[in-house]
Symmetry: C2
């Protein structure tokens, strides 16, 4: 479980309460588990909270009561937590917690609550008099999470340091004749052995032509002389996610491989140079994309340049192309100090293979800090 | 990815189309990824389908185009799959696929679509003339998935055979002085080494007092003489999940440990004996629960007796207590041939420890087949 200090949790609660006031809400029902974790340090598989202006009701089932009670009185206990143990079903219990706020306007997380659960809650609450109004809201907790606080930055720095240490061992796992899936297993072992709770996603070991699939699954293919091998792996360290990709060559890389690798590396460097507080996330993406375009690889780069990291391995901000239907330039597009995200341009050529290079960066008050620390020169093994 | 034969996929499509007709729907938008996998063999991280009476539109993004094209012409290609590659965003593309069905009644999965996405789709579709109606539906694909077909039963048998083989190696990992987390890592390695894609959930190694937490996370505690240790682990084999728990004793178990173990084992055996087609899932739960109650352990067993297994590690049917608000006895409660679920009674005593014994069973035409095969006698190591 995360161990954010109680004072940090209090500041997070205050930020949410401030957002409630500005939206005219009396409380927010939080059903997204990553959001629940952010506000309470809870790391179990089922819970919900209702945070009001002077209340934090925490709903969970009997499996987690001991864990909650154990945190009481520690330096990372959740301030003001009022434990409500599920009776019968989560939704019944949530409805009764909401129902106790007669006449209130209670926000719910429209991006996380399903239509079924919403309709059930509406019907259940509608049966009472002076029912609280359920109001759709979006991104209240996510807006707080997008800029990491000191606790989170310390966690992400440590996680990135450990993942970088894993990387050097990973290169030693690459050998001709070894199956992709065996290399992936060895990487996952190294991640856990380095103190991570688990891999942050299914590790990618994509060799030769398989490297043309950005989300290849490691399979039976054996690593072969002159392959490029994309190695994309991440870890969850005390609930915080980091993510790293390197592409290595088995034997001396040919001219095409070298050229494509150099283009992707240049795109990676240009994008990192473009990171600074106030810069548009679209401009950071364009720094990578335009570089690849200049090398004739615009079509080969089909995904975004990066994604936020934190409690989730894919969160805000998205470092991506501006869409036609996005709003124009504005505060929403700007990255800000405290944001942590990946920079991971790639080039994928069906039938041939691919290259991706990925690091994790923190936006600082003055520019950028690269949290991962692994050389980006092409390694020939 | 799963490799259900094309003929099997066709039968699944026919079952869904039959359900559409009976509900007066022209098509169903499937956004649940496990449901998408069931109908198409697709194992990626993002896709949606719209299955109509004579159409199966498959929406995914560029990352998975190669994988889809590679399956064409194979024995497990998805019949009738019409590939629609995402342009801009998933929801834009889904809206345009739905929008092409003028005047139709299109079901959506209310238990899987968020309020945000639903509202966005409603607004988008509402902008056109002769808009298709979005109709909330529940459980259409899940109702098909609850009874496994021959392909799935073969996969689950093989997965359970492999997990049982893993178990005997797991017992060899238990040693005094070893940390829970190191044992968990070793178990996860064995699961992968046995051919599983990954662990089906975070492996539980709960020793001594930690065993009183049904969902304990393996931590720094070292295994100690006279501990009971709950080992709960599962694997995903070609997309199908199996799940196994054994509780072992470090050294000779004391009288209390023996008595509780014997009670849980008896509950496990009685529940398995209660499994047969037509039996109520509540009665199967009661067979375990009443047994524990007779041994004074009713309060110590706070969770359900079992859960369905398949593409998800927790799916229908739930082998649990009847709730006050459940309907009375009826077809819905009865288990049927082809269902696969766990039987996992336990007893948890805060401050002392706990015991859980779990196997995976298949309901057959005549009774029950236990898929996992590991002795249930208390092992003293």
């Amino acid at each position: 479980m995360p161990h954010a200090p109680s004072a940090t949790l209090s500041r997070r609660h205050a930020a949410i309460r401030h957002a409630l006031v500005s939206r005219g809400l009396d409380a927010l029902l939080v059903t997204s588990l990553p959001n629940v974790m952010y506000l309470t340090n809870f790391a179990g598989s089922a819970a919900a909270i209702m945070i009001g202006r002077d209340r934090l009701a925490f709903v969970t089932d009997f499996r987690y009561v001991t864990a909650i009670e154990t945190a009481r009185g520690t330096a990372f206990e959740c301030p003001g937590l009022e434990l409500v143990v599920v009776d019968h079903s989560y939704d019944e219990t949530i409805a009764s917690v909401i129902g106790s706020s007669q006449g209130a306007r209670v926000g719910f997380e429209a991006a996380h609550l399903t239509v079924s659960r919403h309709r059930w809650l509406e019907a259940k609450l509608g049966a009472g008099r002076s029912m609280p109004a359920l109001v759709a809201s979006e991104g209240i907790v996510e807006s707080a999470r997008i800029r990491k606080d000191d606790y989170e930055i310390a966690m992400l720095r440590e996680a990135a340091r450990r993942l970088s240490a894993v990387a050097s061992g990973v290169f030693g796992e690459i050998a001709r004749g070894r199956r992709e899936r065996d290399v992936a297993l060895a990487i996952d072992w190294r991640i856990r052995d380095a103190g991570f709770e688990r891999s942050a996603f299914d590790t990618i070991v994509a060799s030769g032509p398989n490297a043309a699939l950005p989300h290849a699954r490691p399979g039976e293919r054996t690593l072969t002389e002159s392959d490029l091998v994309v190695l994309d792996f991440g870890g969850v360290y005390d609930s915080y996610c980091v993510d790293l990709t390197r592409t290595v060559s088995l034997g001396t890389a040919g001219p095409r491989a070298r050229a494509i690798y150099a283009a992707v590396r240049e795109a990676h460097d240009r994008a990192i140079e473009a990171v600074a507080p106030g810069r548009s996330r679209f401009d950071i993406d364009a720094a990578a994309r335009d570089t690849l375009g200049r090398h004739g690889l615009a079509e080969a780069f089909g995904h975004g340049t990066g994604h936020g990291l934190g409690i989730e391995v894919h969160e805000q901000p998205r470092i991506s192309r501006r869409r036609g239907d996005d709003a124009g330039p504005g505060d929403d597009d700007a990255v800000a100090a405290g944001m942590v995200f990946t920079i991971e341009p790639g080039a994928y050529l069906p039938g041939w293979g691919g290259v991706r290079i990925e690091d994790d960066v923190l936006v600082t008050e003055t520019g950028v800090e690269v949290l991962t620390d692994v050389a980006t020169e092409l390694i020939e093994l």
